[in-house]
Symmetry: none
Subunit: 408 residues, 2 copies
């Protein structure tokens, strides 16, 4: 059997609800998408409950499910995925946090949870990585803008600790506390507190903050930690599916998912992980990469951002930009293309919802259905029916001619 | 996110098969249902396999599944649900039976399994509750007509006993026997036998039966027990979903399900649990109750009765009566309405079947589909696809804006 390659395009937050501003259509339904429709017409469509029916997924759990890893088994918090994304190897026993730089007052009150969306916190890395806490090692690495990840190593380090992010500006930074009575949790909380105390001191006097003070910019004078977790123990993607895989994503989380599963992460110029990302560059990079890989996961964020902003017209326009880039996929040979989302982000809600997401699978061997358009309600009557996120990889493995026979 | 309230209307036995008498339509398809259609057109529809594909559910297992409790885990026989329905608190370790009063001859032959559908057996309660069996306590409480429930308490009381109902009139009452070799089962069977022996004696001389003898009415001179079970250990509905809930139902079983899950049960004048039930009164009571509750479960029995009678025309007419009452639901604000059934009761079969049941969900935030009518075959191409009973609650939690995010 000819084994085809697989391209999985995840349009973050694509799914939506009928919107009055779009004449009771969803942004995807309202968008002019000739190339996605071309694939829908010649392919098969359906709806996907990414984590489960009615389950409202985060982007982390959703991506694990889409790539075939049951989040109930393999999700251990967002920290380790973010850490993998910025390039820290999270080993067995390590505990990782998402880290955001923020501005605090002398009394601990958080006045800006993103430190004025500071361009980069890379300059803080050397100083922060010099901090010593007896019995523990801390590794900080910067991500995009105000973001980064912090990994704690040490004998008996525990992920059973909360974060210090108050969540709301105007509230005071919280104390890191154990969430169980285990002595390891207590010791870890104390160690992280000790680290943060030193970090605040070193940030206060750091040249970058001195410069920002002069420029009257918000100081990056504390680190807000969230999502403590140990690295999940999982079978790498290649061993699980026999697919040599790569990921293309701007955002740290999505790069982190790819790295966590052992995929190569391809850097693309102009892939920002935001609304302004160069979608065409990502699609073209995916095409190039497919020459040497079996599977490529391409993540495009923008639709989710417009959903969170409640901007249905913006979301529609963004989808049309995606469609223009998707044109490049029509000429791919010997490749099964799947287009779907990690979750719905309805503009009415400005938040993720548990609504199922549209799915299309296009390529040789796909059992073409009667659907001619890529939209939520078109996909609802598609030939793939209503599947679960964990069904996607087996379906793609089958269509691409890679499934082993079960039985004889 | 705005949290909406939820109204779940269960039309017992609604699902059916195309029927020659209705020009090869089902009763629901043939019925004139402008209000249900209005909701279907503006909402989303689908089919529900209440317990599983092809599984032919009892009303008890079906209701557990619809309300999100897997019957494979939480169903422990009908006895404890009926007991909860008539108002006996079934504690841990107690064993409950459904109890029907019947007429027997001196030789034990059952001549009327419903004792001439005696109006009430409440008058027997005091005498029956005086019966003593060493080491065990028995509590009897009357339900509607010839029905009631019997609860056995005692150290090591066991549910591993059969009932004494021969099932068929003309056969002799069976002996209560243990279904395993456990000494507890043996002791329980003997205790229940001893109770029944005394019960028969006390019923024979009871003033109510003396009166019935004079009136030449069938005597209620024995109790047929079925469905022995211990109370299921389950998380109350409120704790499971964060929904303060109430149930409206005439029938003891449905009231029992609501009570077993910790819901308030609302009494409605004219709610008989039969074909003649005042549907409008129930719907209006549901609307009133929603002012102070988050979730209301409304059970309407009639369609199932017509199905068991094989009366397709009667079922169609009953559904039209339901539709007229459903009109009142169209003006509900801030509420997601779901209409479905616990199982199909096809008139051709005069019995429950494993056919999936139609489902509609109507309210703000529902992803409207292309279906414009509430019927079995219309719902089969609806936007919700084919779901399982256990999917219903998560779907309603999502649509009502109450789902917690899973992951980050």
């Amino acid at each position: 059997m000819n084994k085809q390659k697989i391209l999985l395009l995840v349009l973050d937050g694509l799914g939506d609800r009928p919107d009055e501003r779009l004449n009771d259509q969803t942004p995807l339904e309202a968008a002019r998408t000739p190339y996605l429709n071309y694939m829908a017409e010649r392919g098969a469509t359906g709806l996907l409950d990414v984590v489960g029916v009615g389950v409202r997924p985060g982007s982390d759990t959703a991506h694990l499910a889409l790539l075939g890893y049951d989040p109930a088994k393999y999700y251990s918090g967002r920290g380790p995925i973010e850490a993998a994304g910025v390039g820290i190897a999270v080993g067995k026993g390590d505990v990782a946090f998402r880290a955001n730089f923020a501005s605090i007052m002398g009394n601990g009150q958080v006045v800006d949870r993103r430190a004025g969306r500071i361009e980069s916190v890379k300059a803080f890395e050397p100083a922060l990585n010099k901090i010593k806490v007896p019995g523990f090692q801390f590794t900080f690495k910067a991500g995009c803008e105000h973001r980064g990840a912090l990994v704690v190593r040490g004998k008996g380090v525990s992920s059973e600790v909360n974060g210090n992010d108050p969540g709301v500006e105007g509230n005071r930074e919280k104390e890191i506390k154990p969430t169980t009575s285990a002595p390891e949790a207590k010791a870890t909380a104390a160690a992280v507190e000790a680290y943060l105390k030193q970090a605040r001191r070193c940030l206060a006097n750091h040249p970058l903050n001195k410069k920002r003070r002069k420029q009257k910019l918000p100081l990056a004078n504390t680190i807000l930690l969230r999502g403590a977790g140990a690295a999940p123990e999982l079978t790498p993607f290649k061993d699980k599916y026999g697919l040599d895989a790569a990921g293309i994503a701007g955002g740290g989380l999505y790069r982190g998912v790819a790295k966590t599963l052992g995929m190569d992460v391809i850097n693309v110029n102009g892939a920002t992980g935001g609304k302004d990302s160069n979608i065409l560059a990502k699609i073209n990079a995916a095409k190039t990469t497919l020459a040497r890989k079996d599977f490529i996961f391409v993540h495009v964020k923008g639709a989710d951002d417009y959903g969170h902003d409640g901007d249905a017209l913006g979301k529609k326009a963004f989808i049309e930009r995606v469609d223009a880039a998707v044109r490049e996929l029509l000429t791919l040979e010997n490749t099964v293309v799947a287009v779907t989302a990690d979750h719905s982000t309805p503009c009415q809600l400005k938040a993720h919802s548990g609504d199922p997401v549209p799915l299309l699978i296009y390529g040789k061997g796909v059992r073409r259905d009667c659907t001619r358009k890529f939209g939520e309600r078109d996909c609802a009557v598609g030939g793939l029916g209503r599947l679960r996120g964990l069904d996607l990889m087996p379906e793609l493995i089958n269509v691409s001619g890679r499934a082993e026979i079960y039985g004889a």
